[in-house]
Amino acid sequence: MYSPAIIFEAVLNGLMTGAVYALIALGLTLVYGVLHIINFAHGALLTAAMFAVFALHVAFRVDPYVSILIVTPLFFALGYGLQRFVIGPASHGDDQNILLVTLGLSILIENGLLAIFRSDTRTIDVPYGFNVVEVGPLLLSQPKLIGLAGSVAVAILLWLFMVRTDTGKAIRAVAKERLGATLMGIDVAHIYAITFGLGCACLAVAAALLMPSFYVNPRVGNAFVLVAFTIVVLGGMGSIAGALIGGLFIGMVESVSGLLLGESLGQIGIFLIFILVLLLRPTGLFGAKA
């Protein structure tokens, strides 16, 4: 049997990883909540952001945390452009087309990265990569703690943005009642693109928070995106609070089931949750309605 201390440590580790998951899921759920589309390119875009952080570090010795200041606006712009000029026009407003276009983007980005960076797994060497923080009897990874803090900070910022700013209010108006928002003179295509940009910006921050303690290869986003889908489905499509709680919960489940079942089978827990939630309660555990 496992001692309570080991389980407790697994739970804490899971919470820290879960916070970054939550951040990734936040981008996904935001896009879903407003555009009502499932962005299949989310994972590939995360991979792209991680490579951007990696490349900045290799080429210009930019610290991953500092690179947030560069990568985030870059990915906001990328997301804005993708939605405005590719996904929106190409899909003619049809749900299944959106699914296909974002799938096409994900194939394109993932393999574009493969062509540029090859399939090697890469890491960033930073002096603090293996630093630990002592909390009572526990040793916690410093980069992961920063990841937790950063994710929570972004979630709060995003929430403030949605509640306080005019753009945020416009986004919420579009999410609630698209036609009404159009009638009020809100440029829906612009708001969609901004929302998609925000989703990508979340990914950029997540990428920077992940890189000091994680690795990157062209397929790394796949693992995250399925987890993110699970979180979004669990938390209720479009719910920001749901994504946060769902992320923390899934991080914990993964960590504990990894401990009990081993690394490779550990993932199964997540997928089973995913399937069960979809089959039994597709509106999510925290979602009010579809």
């Binding site: 589309i37 499932i38 590719v86 026009p89 190409a90 899909s91 003619h92 749900d95 299944q96 087309n97 699914l99 296909l100 276009v101 799938l103 096409g104 983007l105 994900s106 194939i107 394109l108 980005i109 993932e110 393999n111 574009g112 990265l113 493969l114 062509a115 090859r118 399939s119 062209p218 796949n222 399925l226 889908f229 489905v233 490779s264 089978l265 993932q267 199964i268 997928f271 089973l272 995913f274 399937i275 979809l278 089959l279 039994l280 597709p282």
Partner: protein
Amino acid sequence: MLLRHPPFALLIGILTVLAGLPLLGLPNTALNFLFFVLVIALAGQGWNLAGGYGGQFSFGHAAFFGVGAYTTAILQVRYGVNAWLGFGAGIALGSFVGFVIGSLSFRAGLRGSYFALVTLAFAEVLRILANAAPITGGAAGILIKLDVAPANFQFASRAVFFWIALALVGAVLILNRMIEQRRFGAYLVAIRENEAAARALGVNVLAVKLQAISLSAAITAAAGALYAQYFLYLDAAIAFGPWISVEALLAAIIGGAGTVLGPLLGAGLLHGLGEITKLAAGRVPGIDLVVYGIVLILVVAFAPRGVIGLFTKGDKGGEPTSHG
């Protein structure tokens, strides 16, 4: 019109021409390529039945491909079952898995993106299980013993494999064409276009969808079993990996979803394009897939009814109806 609803004579003609290809004295690499295109076309034909005609977009047809492949491999390697029987069992079990996944998802009312997600998740669960379970050989994979004999579904000549694959693709072409002309086909399209209207007209939507996904899974499982028999090696990433789900979907969508010839045309075009790209760009990994991604986006944007749709512009009508 001719391409959208090809008459049987045209189908037979196309198949006859394709069947002649190995007689041209093509090198083995070319036959390898053609065989692979046919396997993808077959997997795509499976996808097309549920996804193209029925509008149920699956992102997890790897589940059926993998079950077909692993069933025949495991039966031969672990239980000494004859390869042909194993092949049949692979198709049957693949179909059953399709029925089970379909029952769970359709009964839960999952449609559109949700159905795509849940099928993806099912395929991933199977991949993880296959990667860990002893019976599948785990991460090391499973190797079918090389023993070239027709009784073992192993042939010295690649041409024979090509013909078998072509026969399967041809059988499904004709099956699809027959379905188009029958109640089942009309019901499938009705469900794709408007489920509520179909129900009001007496269509048992759940039953039709389940028939479609079972048949769809059987066809894709046949592709998987054929793959296993040809390469004699499987691992979880090959059998259940997302690549085959994507290939099956791409072939159908790019060729023309909901058309008889779509998946075959799509698989041929896509892989032809992929080969040309590889020749032009040299050995850059992933470059062919970059092209696939671009083609998919372009097709959705500019040719929503696939490449076949480009040749039948203006013909938005359905089936030519000939009757007494």
